[in-house]
């Protein structure tokens, strides 16, 4: 079985985000970029399935500018087999991403798609769901455990009320949550091997997908800075504050 995994190049989780002075967006100059952490979990999930003999080949796809090749190389170094960059310098909205991933999944004959539940740059949390709809495949989002048996996937999901377990007929779309696994570090030998692999490159046009943005960014602002807190000496004092100042009690 072939699995498609999508990886996105995003601002590193440890970087402090800077808004451009004119409010037109985020300042990405000289900013450290990394693979979206949820996508790392997706790659790890696929590699574990391959190690368990449930998956034969892992196809990693990224949609973005040329430096996204590095993101694909990271996935290859973790254990993915082949990489494809759909090169675009435009911002890609979830629907465009889902259309492109659908095209690749069908072209490659994939029977499983594993995606991060969301990317930490726009936090949209839409691509996986849209991909499932476009392919007309069943979906299990926010996976915290995945088991594959023949043509059936059993996925545990983290939902508000606790854990929900779904059984899906393959082909299917699964999106990964934080606690699914702990992604491995790519070893130096694997990093060096991955650097020698050829990564295919295509453009959105090649798939006949229109990526014109449907959304307009009106403004980007810093969140309001939090006011300093106060330390209280006793529970009585806390109750007093909640009653008199906060008006909660």
């Amino acid at each position: 079985m072939k699995v498609i995994v999508a990886v996105k190049r995003v601002v590193d989780y440890s970087v402090r985000i800077r808004v451009k002075p004119d409010g037109s967006g985020i300042d990405l100059a000289n900013t450290k970029m990394s693979m979206n952490p949820f996508d790392e979990i997706a790659v790890e999930a696929a590699v574990q399935l391959k190690e368990a003999g449930k998956v034969d080949e892992i196809v990693v796809v990224s949609i973005g500018p040329t430096p996204a090749l590095e993101t694909i190389r990271t996935a290859l170094a973790m254990g993915a087999d082949t990489g494809l960059l759909i090169r675009s310098d435009e911002a890609i909205e979830p629907l465009a991403a889902a259309k492109l991933l659908r095209a690749v999944a069908l072209e490659e004959g994939c029977e499983l798609a594993i995606l991060g539940k969301q990317a930490i740059d726009d936090d949209a949390n839409q691509t996986g769901q849209m991909l499932a709809a476009l392919l007309d495949w069943p979906q299990a989002t926010f996976a915290s455990a995945i088991a594959i048996d023949g043509k059936v996937a059993t996925v545990t999901r983290e939902v508000d009320g606790g854990l929900q377990t779904l059984e899906l007929d393959l082909p299917a779309v699964i999106t990964t949550d934080l606690r699914l696994n702990q992604p491995r570090y790519a070893t130096l030998p694997n990093i060096m091997k991955a650097r020698k692999k050829v990564i295919a490159e295509k453009t959105p046009d090649a798939f006949g997908v229109d990526i014109t943005p449907r959304l307009t960014v009106l403004a980007t602002e810093e969140p309001e800075s939090r006011k300093a807190g106060v330390k209280l000496g006793s529970v009585a004092e806390l109750l007093g504050k909640l009653k008199d100042e906060a008006g909660i009690l």
Binding site: Y185, L188, P189
Partner: protein, 386 residues
């Protein structure tokens, strides 16, 4: 001239940084508190990641990359602590290189792959009670007896003593006086007649065991000969790799201090603003950054000119000398900027300060590097004995 690292080097550096920063902080604290070296299970993890064989030849199970690539990895480890970085230093820049390049092929094929796999550490033993900077005064005797070499003597300040599986022991052959008589022999742990003194308590370098080594009619096969009499120059040529390793460890300590204090001065508020907003802090931080960057460039120049061969004595000495001096200055400045938090054990800067001191003492003191540099400059070797 292009000073940028290649994409491959950036990938190696990033992998080392991620691993070191995410995984090693706790281990560093444990090592600092207990003075125990990096435990075996962690050595295996380092090995699985490939950190112990960056510049080891591929036929010995390494990646076969140039020295500079190993130094990039080593710096990231040394930023965390000397204790966690020491095995990388020993395997990539230290005595393993001597065994690999000068050892009998059968010895190298047996020992070097085990070092790459984290199954054996190899230590270098040069100094003696009466031979430090004047290394060619060393008296440990080696004599050939049939198919064996027999060693007798006492070695001092051996980093790794008692914990390493193999020792590169510098010794004097057949009573030949001066540098001409000095060579080196590989001795394995457990060889009859090999014993160790008490572990030294050091100002810094916790997790780097150090002790005397006693050799009492220690008998090893002739294939353990690394360098015989007349080969001292060859040994010292190879020692330029160790010099750059030492310089990189010093650099890593300084760079780690700079990273830590850069975060601190942006968070620490005094008089209602972060202390980075005071010009005195800005100037100090800039001076530290200039020193760290200059040390890094000197090391990278020497290593990059060496490729997979040997670094030049003059370039390696300049790099080591400068890195050894600035690491003390940078750590002292960082400690001062952190005030009470710098002086307190809990925040780690006092540990960096203590660790920074050792590098200008180990592997050839700062002053002797300067003598090398001056000699290189005027094309002479200064004889200290006359």
């Amino acid at each position: 001239m292009d000073f940028r690292l290649s994409d491959d080097q950036l990938a190696l550096q990033d992998a080392a940084r991620r691993f070191a920063q995410t995984e090693l902080a706790e281990l560093a604290e444990h090592i600092e508190a207990t003075s125990e070296p990096v435990p075996q299970n962690w050595l295996k993890r380092y090995a699985e990641m490939g950190f112990l064989g960056v510049n080891t030849a591929t036929e010995h199970g390494g990646l076969g990359l140039p020295l500079i690539d190993a130094l990039l990895v080593m710096e990231e480890f040394a930023k965390i602590s000397v204790g966690v970085a020491f095995p990388v230093f020993e395997c990539c820049a230290g005595p393993v290189r001597i065994v690999e390049r000068l050892g009998d092929p059968s010895l190298a094929a047996r020992i070097v792959p085990r070092a790459v796999q984290g199954d054996i550490l190899v230590a270098i033993s040069m100094s003696e009670p009466d031979a430090g900077t004047a290394l060619t005064d060393l008296r440990t005797r080696a004599r050939f007896e049939g198919n064996d070499i027999v060693l007798d003597g006492t070695k001092r300040w051996c980093s790794g003593a008692g914990h390493s599986g193999g020792y590169v022991v510098f010794c004097r052959f057949d009573g030949i006086q001066g540098a001409k008589g000095v060579g080196a022999v590989f001795v394995e742990m457990g060889t009859p007649g090999l014993s160790f003194g008490e572990q030294e308590g050091m100002m810094g370098f916790h997790g780097v065991p150090s002790a005397d080594i006693f050799l009492d009619s220690v008998r090893v096969p002739k294939s353990h000969l690394l360098v015989g009499p007349g080969g001292f120059g060859q040994l010292m040529g190879l020692f330029n790799i160790e010099r750059l390793g030492n310089a990189t460890m010093a650099l890593g300590v300084a760079a780690g201090a700079l990273e830590q204090v850069t975060g601190y001065v942006q968070e620490r508020q005094q008089f209602g603003k972060p202390i980075i907003d005071f010009q005195a802090v800005q100037l100090r931080l800039a001076e530290m950054a200039v020193k760290v960057e200059a040390a890094r460039l000197l090391i990278h120049k020497a290593a990059s000119n060496a490729g997979t061969g040997l670094p030049d004595l003059g370039e390696a000495s300049i790099a080591k000398c400068f890195a050894n001096e600035i690491t003390r200055e940078v750590c002292a400045s960082a400690l001062q900027l952190m005030g009470g938090y710098g002086y307190a054990k809990e925040y780690g800067m006092e540990r960096r300060f203590r660790d920074s001191y050792g590098w200008g003492i180990a592997g050839g003191a700062i002053d002797i590097q300067k003598v090398n540099i001056a000699g290189h400059l005027v094309g002479r070797r200064f004889n200290q004995r006359v």
